[in-house]
């Protein structure tokens, strides 16, 4: 590798600040660079060309492109938890202390064991792995695949949690302009002139696109000068938002787009300060203008992947932007005029250069200027071979041969010494975003590429993105489209239209397509014409895929993986189509093109998650008593988004012990439960009762005012979805309780039926769950606690019987008290406005002290109700269980002609008598607790499969009964009362007897006590 200085004199490199040196390291080697450098330019300025190794053959690779289209120079940047793999060196902005490493090589970049694959490459044609690695069978997972996995995969993941933050922002605008080149700036100016709100974004740090490396003037000044003035003006405008370092990653339906802003990657100081690293912009635009420019095409010639072979535009940019010479003597290989600007720039920099042009006649202005400048032009020729130093690390020369379109092999050739090649096969409009939601495209003969055609959304393309490469045309187009977009957004705007500036630029001669450059010898024997550089897909691979019948371009793509690398085919797709067209004698449109998928360039998962990580990942709902629970070291369990206290272990108390303690307290004295999460819905109107009769399986129109009734809810399939106690507050006024999880669902459901089915019903439904804190005071001493709380509150059985409700005050606290019980004990549920909840809670605890009041959690609650044989929606039911299945036939009205789910109960399968029915279970060994979900079998066999006849739905050790109890859904269970069932578990069989599911206080004496 040559060691001569690659950094040119002051007159080159307008983007770098030579007064600000920065030091960075590449593969552990300390290197100097300048502020304004990219990692690519800085490394090249240090005389290093090889940046990485290719995916499959591990061939050494250098920089080919200029920005996000780069497919070779992928590096890992940053260390430890801040490491980021697979970054394009051409996009990494240099900063002091930047640490970069090359990828996919071992042990080192210049010597890579993996490159053995290259030597053996002929054994690895496209799709080879489908044809082998099948024998012996077990070797696939044990030998072959592990090897493949280790070999693949480019860079390494960071280790540890990401220390940086990310955020989202929503933005609406009248016009979004994607791309800040000359055309984009022009369109933005025109749109903004109407007063429209305009957002313009560009993925690079600076605006201007190719302005600084393109010839021609605008209103008499250089393109770049014009661009800088424009962006300055736009950045000051009130109605414009200018976003640099921001990539539009995709276009979604109805003109919603995602922009990916790299806020702080370029400056560690910002990150250290806590600036969000990336910001995801969710933009809704009335009009979208794509000024995304075009991407230069490489040329498929033998060994076109050697380090030192780059795109002509890129070579030019490294020269003028960063003052970096791609080499000391070069060759420009082109099929168009544009590349001649590179030749001229190189010449101007004192670098020796020749032009090889596949076109037989080149006499337009740029070539003529080049000739005048003394540049040798070899027209009608093409590169037939590339010579390189050992290991292919460097270009040493080429063989040039006369070019005849379609000719297979090369006869005569001339050798030319050179250490770099700048190639240009033409330009492809960047269509990606246009196509994301299905915009139509058409093939353009002059471009030999696809360009935008029609689109169903309000979106337009201008300039190179639209195939309009010439400066004058691009400006006219951009101003016209920009103005139209502004008008469409603000039809009334009277603003004056900006005048279209005057463009002066050399007229270019048409390009001639060059999809394949014949090589020395038979092209696919030995030397490789790379189409997809990163994935090592050659012209021969594509042609082979065709021959093997993978004819659809999608098949070819998937079989050879061309276009599937991290550049998503930006530089390879069209070249591939060209090769396929020539191989099959079809036209490119006949071959078709693969679908463009978001994102335009890869963007971080962190930015997609934004701030929704850690404690903001998903909301946690807290009851008014949450802090108290925490102060008591409660164990919590999530119920939907709620956090409910599961149990309250005392210091050094086992979970099971604390649960038992809580249960016995309720049975023997009194317990207190935070039931605030219970759903509460106020329902009022002349048809309120009728609505309840429709949504509950049992009757509610007969409920007396002030009384409560337990109700069952089915869906239309006849399956249980919710239950709860509903209270009649007035003739036309009810308060419905739902399960904690069901609150939102049920109230929305009631609204749905009222608005879409029973639209003649006059009923208002208002969910009030969170208005109330609600506590259950349960146990023989419950009444005493309430009396202590407020002696005047009438609590006698006569005045306040089971299943009734009273509204009033407990002390100063306004309350609703319901005498309902889910524990089977005498129990009152007290509802109080949420902000007074904690106050009353404390009062109850004080009042209960003498009675040994014990706070109990959800697990104790579940055991208590199981002892009573009460069902829990979600435990005894799983979405396939009917009220009849759980033995609540009594709550399925025979009188009502219609209620939700009624008809489905008549479907044959739901009427079967051998359905699984809810029963109680008592294990033969009372200390044996059946596991939840254990299955009973018809007959125990020594090994599976065994016929299953039902499963345990709830199973606990009952501290009250000092034995295990369980409920289960068993096929025709009720007919099997007294039968003993077998539950084969791991290594043992548990036997249990079918019994009635009410284990405790069958006659309900406690409850009515």
């Amino acid at each position: 590798m040559t060691s001569k200085p690659y950094r040119l004199g002051e007159s080159f490199g307008h983007a770098i600040d030579r007064s600000r040196r920065v030091n960075f390291s590449f593969d552990g080697k300390q290197m100097p660079g300048y502020a304004g450098d990219t990692l690519a330019s800085a490394v090249m300025a240090n005389g290093q060309r090889v940046f990485g190794r290719s995916f499959k053959y591990h061939r050494p690779r250098g920089v080919v492109g200029l920005g996000s289209e780069e497919m070779n120079a992928l590096v890992g940047v940053g260390e430890g938890s801040r490491h980021e793999p697979n970054l394009r060196a051409t996009q990494v902005e240099l900063h002091d202390g930047l640490v970069a490493v090359s990828q996919n090589r071992w042990p080192s970049l210049s010597f890579d064991i993996g490159s053995i694959n290259n030597t053996l490459s002929r054994f690895f044609p496209g799709g080879f792995y489908y044809k082998t690695f099948m024998w012996p069978q077990k070797f696939w997972m044990s030998v072959y695949e592990p090897f493949i996995r280790r070999a693949a995969g480019l860079g390494k993941a960071p280790d540890g949690c990401d220390p940086d933050t990310y955020e989202h922002i929503h933005a609406h605008c009248d016009v979004l302009v994607v791309g800040g080149g000359v055309a984009g700036l022009a369109a933005a100016e025109a749109a903004a002139a109407s007063g429209a709100r305009v957002i313009i974004c560009d993925e690079n740090p600076q605006f201007g696109g190719w302005a600084d490396i393109a010839d021609g003037t605008i209103d008499g000044v250089a393109q770049s000068e014009w661009a800088q003035a424009k962006v300055q003006r736009l950045s000051e405008a009130e109605n414009v938002h200018v976003l640099s370092r921001t990539t539009c990653v995709g276009h979604w339906q109805h003109n919603s787009l995602i922009l990916f802003e790299r806020v702080a990657d370029h400056d560690p100081a910002l990150l250290a300060r806590g600036t969000p690293r990336h910001r995801l912009w969710k933009v809704r635009a009335r009009q979208v203008i794509l000024a995304t420019g075009s991407i230069e095409r490489p040329i498929a010639f033998a060994n076109n992947d050697r380090p030192g072979i780059m795109l002509a535009g890129a070579a030019r940019a490294f020269l003028t932007r960063y003052g970096v010479a791609p080499g000391s003597s070069g060759l420009v290989f082109t099929n168009n005029d544009d590349a001649y600007q590179t030749a001229l720039a190189l010449k101007q920099a004192g670098i020796q250069v020749r032009v090889v042009d596949s076109r037989s006649h080149v006499d337009s202005q740029l070539p003529t200027t080049a000739r005048k400048a003394g540049i040798e032009i070899m027209a009608g020729s093409a590169i037939a071979a590339v010579e390189s130093s050992f290991g292919g690390l460097d270009v040493t020369g080429v063989k040039v041969a006369p070019y005849r379109k379609g000719s297979g092999r090369v006869i005569t050739e001339t050798r030319i010494e050179c250490d770099f090649i700048a190639m240009s096969g033409g330009f492809n409009p960047a269509l990606h975003i246009w196509c994301h939601t299905g915009g139509k495209i058409r093939f353009d003969e002059a471009l030999q590429s696809f360009r935008p055609d029609t689109h169903h959304d309000r979106i337009a393309a201008v300039g190179a993105a639209n195939g309009t490469l010439a400066l004058g045309g691009a400006l006219n187009e951009a101003y016209a489209v920009g103005e139209a977009a502004g008008k469409a957004a603000l039809p009334k705007s009277k603003a004056a239209r900006p005048k279209v500036p005057k463009a002066l630029q050399e007229v270019q001669q048409a390009l001639e397509s060059l999809w394949f450059s014949p090589a020395t010898g038979k092209y696919n024997e030995g030397n490789k014409h790379f189409i997809d550089f990163q994935n090592d897909v050659t012209a021969a691979d594509l042609e082979l895929a065709q021959r093997e019948g993978y004819e659809s371009v999608e098949h070819t793509k998937r079989y050879t993986t061309f276009g599937m690398a991290t550049d998503q085919g930006k530089t390879s797709n069209l070249n591939g189509l060209g090769v396929l067209a020539e191989a099959t004698g079809k036209t490119i449109p006949q071959i078709g093109i693969t679908t463009f998928r978001p994102p335009y360039t890869p963007f971080s998962f962190g930015s997609v998650a934004g701030p929704m990580t850690r404690q903001l990942f998903l909301p946690i709902r807290r009851t008014p008593i949450y802090e108290w629970h925490k102060s008591q070291a409660a164990q919590f369990e999530p119920i939907g988004q709620w956090r409910r206290a599961y149990t309250y272990p005392k210091p050094a108390e086992e979970k099971q012990a604390s649960i038992a303690r809580e249960i016995l307290a309720v049975r023997n004295s009194v317990g207190l439960l935070d039931a605030s999460t219970l759903g509460k819905i106020e329902i009022k109107g002349p048809d309120a009762a009728a609505l309840l009769d429709r949504v509950y399986s049992n009757m509610f129109s007969t409920l007396k005012i002030g009384r409560c009734r337990y109700g069952l809810m089915m869906n239309e399939l006849g399956f249980l979805i919710d239950d709860g106690v509903t209270v009649r507050l007035g003739e036309d006024h009810f308060l419905m309780h739902t399960t904690s999880g069901g609150a939102d669902r049920v109230s929305a459901w009631l609204e749905e039926w009222l608005q879409t089915e029973w639209t003649d019903y006059k009923v208002f439904v208002t969910p009030v769950t969170e208005q109330w804190a609600q506590f259950a005071i349960a146990g023989p001493k419950a009444r005493d606690v309430l009396r202590r709380l407020d002696p005047d509150f009438e609590l006698s059985n006569e005045a306040f019987p089971h299943l009734s409700m009273k509204e009033g005050h407990l002390g100063r606290y306004p309350v609703r008290v319901f005498r309902i019980s889910f524990s089977g004990e005498l129990s009152y549920e007290v509802a109080v406005p949420a902000n007074l909840g904690r106050g009353l809670w404390d009062e109850i605890l004080t009042a209960g002290q003498d009675f040994g009041i014990t706070v109990y959690g959800t697990e104790a609650l579940h055991v208590l109700r199981a002892e009573k044989g009460y069902i829990v929606i979600g435990d005894e039911t799983d979405g396939t269980v009917t009220p009849v299945d759980v033995g609540l036939d009594g709550l399925v009205s025979k009188k009502k002609s219609d209620f939700i789910g009624k008809r489905s109960l008549e479907q044959s399968f739901l009427k079967r008598t051998d359905r699984k029915q809810l029963v109680g279970l008592l294990t033969e060994d009372p200390s044996e607790v059946l596991p939840d979900g254990a299955y009973a079998v018809q007959e125990v066999k020594d090994k599976p499969p065994m016929e299953m006849i039902g499963q345990v739905t709830s199973s606990y050790f009952s501290p009250t009964l000092q034995r295990s109890i369980a409920m289960a859904l068993i096929q025709s269970g009720r007919a099997r009362m007294g039968e003993t069932l077998s539950f084969p578990l791991d290594g043992k069989v548990v036997k249990a007897k079918i019994v009635d599911q009410v284990f405790y206080d069958k006659e309900g004496a406690q409850l009515n006590g």
Binding site: W252, R284, E751, Q755, T759, D898, K902, S904
Partner: protein
């Protein structure tokens, strides 16, 4: 990302501000005649869907707005909304005429009825 418009309150917003609830204009047999519903009618009501590629009619709720249910006509291939109308209404006449597949049979008598009016 769909941008949805509520015909009740005029709110416009992301699909996430609304609730999509599947096919519209499905009649619940039990509301009309609870006593005479065949298993097949019940099946059709609960499961059978027109599911066209192209113009479709569906139910939405203005979840983060007025909370009202409404109908939308949308092309399931291009995702373009063609109309938004009330939950108690039929689609605009021209859309009923453009409807394809299973929808044609459904709208036939509706269009006839509209004519005779």
């Amino acid at each position: 990302m769909l941008i949805v418009h509520c015909p009740v309150c005029g709110a416009e917003g992301d699909e996430t501000d609304f609730h999509a609830a599947g096919e519209a204009h499905i009649r619940r047999p039990a509301t009309l005649d609870p006593e005479h519903i065949s298993d097949e009618q019940q099946r059709d009501y609960l499961f059978m869907r027109r599911n066209p590629k192209g113009l479709h009619f569906e139910r939405w709720r203005c979840d983060r707005g007025c909370g009202k249910w409404f109908h939308a006509a949308r092309d399931t291939a291009t995702m373009e909304f063609k109309a938004f109308y009330l939950a108690t209404e039929l689609p605009p006449r021209e859309l009923m005429e453009q409807a394809t597949g299973e929808w044609v049979t459904f709208f036939k008598d509706k269009l006839k009825a509209a004519k005779t009016k």
